[in-house]
């Protein structure tokens, strides 16, 4: 009993110190398989969504309404990102503090199709391990270590830098479908596209907004990962548009906006103090 009293608080402390997210996985093969199956499911839905958007005609000429301009910009981005391998130049910093050296590295983000292929290879490898009775990754297998590091890297909030150098003999793009990188947050962009299309339908008919919105229908059902309106069909979703948050830009919650919001509260407080001073 005394041992439990000592060990349990220490375990809790360890969980807090190491971050709760790291505890359930830690090389646990069934957990990794489950997560990758969910990712494959999302990637398949993403392909269906992007292929549908591919059918929507987007004029090249500049458009008048800001919502249309936004759709004109976002739709090709999401199409390219989901359907094509994308190579970008990234700056990495090796070393710490001001002594760190920067270098440019070409990083290829796999298309969702490539990601699915590679993930299936990974799942095949993990399945073989499971069939041999191995339930977790081991430290004495180089392949296991690589997978663990790739997996660790791929969690929200992490950055893909650490995988370079550990994935020897493995292409840098392997398994890097990174929802942790906001620029490439497919669901977020898709939701923005659907909302903007609904909003734009009040002002214009230059694009086929219903077709754009209906791309969020995956496997015969509207999918909230791509529209944020749940199962509502176009007309109902259109009637449910909330114009109190008037623009896509205003809906974004960036650090800047948070900072601004903090300032706003401070500002209101100042106004109230000023009002009180006037009264007394």
């Amino acid at each position: 009993m005394t041992i439990v009293k000592i060990v349990w608080p220490m375990t809790i402390l360890l969980i807090v110190l190491t971050g709760c997210n790291t505890v359930p996985y830690s090389g646990d093969i069934p957990s990794i398989i489950k997560v990758y199956e969910q990712k494959i499911d999302f990637a398949q839905a993403g392909i269906s969504y992007a292929q549908c958007l591919n059918e929507v005609q987007i004029p090249e000429a500049p458009m008048l309404d800001p919502e249309n301009e936004s759709l004109q910009e976002l739709i090709p981005i999401i199409r390219r990102f989901v359907l094509e391998d994308t190579t970008v130049l990234e700056k990495t910093i090796a070393g710490e503090g001001t002594n760190g050296k920067t270098s440019d590295i070409e990083v290829t983000f796999p298309s969702f199709l490539t990601f699915i292929d590679e993930s299936r290879d990974l799942l095949g490898y993990l399945d073989r391990r499971l069939s041999l009775g191995q339930m977790s990754l081991t430290k004495n297998s180089a392949d296991d270590q690589t997978i663990e590091k790739l997996y660790e890297h791929d969690r929200p909030g992490s950055y893909y830098g650490p995988i370079f150098g550990v994935a020897e003999g493995l292409k840098a793009s392997h398994y890097v479908i990174t929802s942790s990188f906001p620029r490439y947050d497919v669901s977020k962009v898709a939701v923005a596209i659907s909302k903007t299309a609904l909003q734009a339908s009040y002002f214009s008919d230059e694009l086929d907004y219903e077709a754009i919105y209906n791309c969020s229908m995956i496997g015969g059902k509207y999918d909230s990962r791509f529209n944020d309106a749940g199962s509502l069909a176009f007309e109902d979703a259109r009637n449910a548009v909330d114009f109190s948050a008037m623009s896509v830009e205003d809906r974004k919650i960036s650090n800047r906006d948070k900072r601004e919001e903090m300032y706003q509260r401070y500002d209101d407080a100042k106004d109230t103090v000023r009002a009180l001073k006037k009264l007394f």
């Binding site: 009040y202 008037m246 601004e260 106004d271």
Partner: protein
């Protein structure tokens, strides 16, 4: 009873102070983020009216076609188009200005914006004020008429009324 009265007076006074009068521009001056926040509020108001007018215009053209819309409604799409174009450009300029102000911090005294930058902000606000006056005229004209033809009623949603 006196306390209740005092409380009501306090609340009314505080809310009156926090209202921003967009009829005349009162944005210039203040800490960078403070100015950015005011530009944000100003922009939202501009965008809301701009969107309402676009919606009414779109619904009327859809219902009447642009020719008969001229005759029936005495609101001229060509005039509206010019106003809307000006407002859109100004909205983009205000967005860029707000973004630029948001790059500053309000925690350090030395992080004030430069004289030139402040001058540019002030000039832009004056210009925005003129465009807003023009937009307000159209907005008042359209919203006072309470157009019932076509599907214009749907545009009330844009104003949240």
């Amino acid at each position: 009873m006196r306390c209740i009265f005092l409380f009501v007076a306090l609340v009314a006074s505080a809310s009156a102070v926090s209202d921003v009068d967009y009829g005349t521009i009162k944005i210039s001056g203040g800490r960078p983020l403070h100015q950015a926040e005011k530009i944000g509020r100003y922009k939202r108001d501009l965008y809301r009216k701009y969107s309402y007018i676009r919606c009414v215009n779109y619904q009327l053209v859809k219902h009447f076609g642009s020719d008969s819309y001229n005759e029936t409604e005495k609101i001229f799409p060509a005039d509206l188009a010019e106003t809307l174009y000006l407002v859109k450009s100004k909205l983009s300029a205000l967005t860029a200005q707000r973004e630029s102000l948001l790059l500053h911090h309000d925690t350090l005294p030395e992080d004030n914006i430069s004289f030139d930058e402040q001058h540019a902000v002030n000039q832009s606000q004056k210009h925005a004020g003129k465009i807003k006056e023009r937009l307000d005229l159209v907005f008042d004209q359209i919203s006072a008429r309470r157009v019932t033809e076509g599907n214009v009623a749907i545009c009330d949603k844009v104003l949240n009324r």
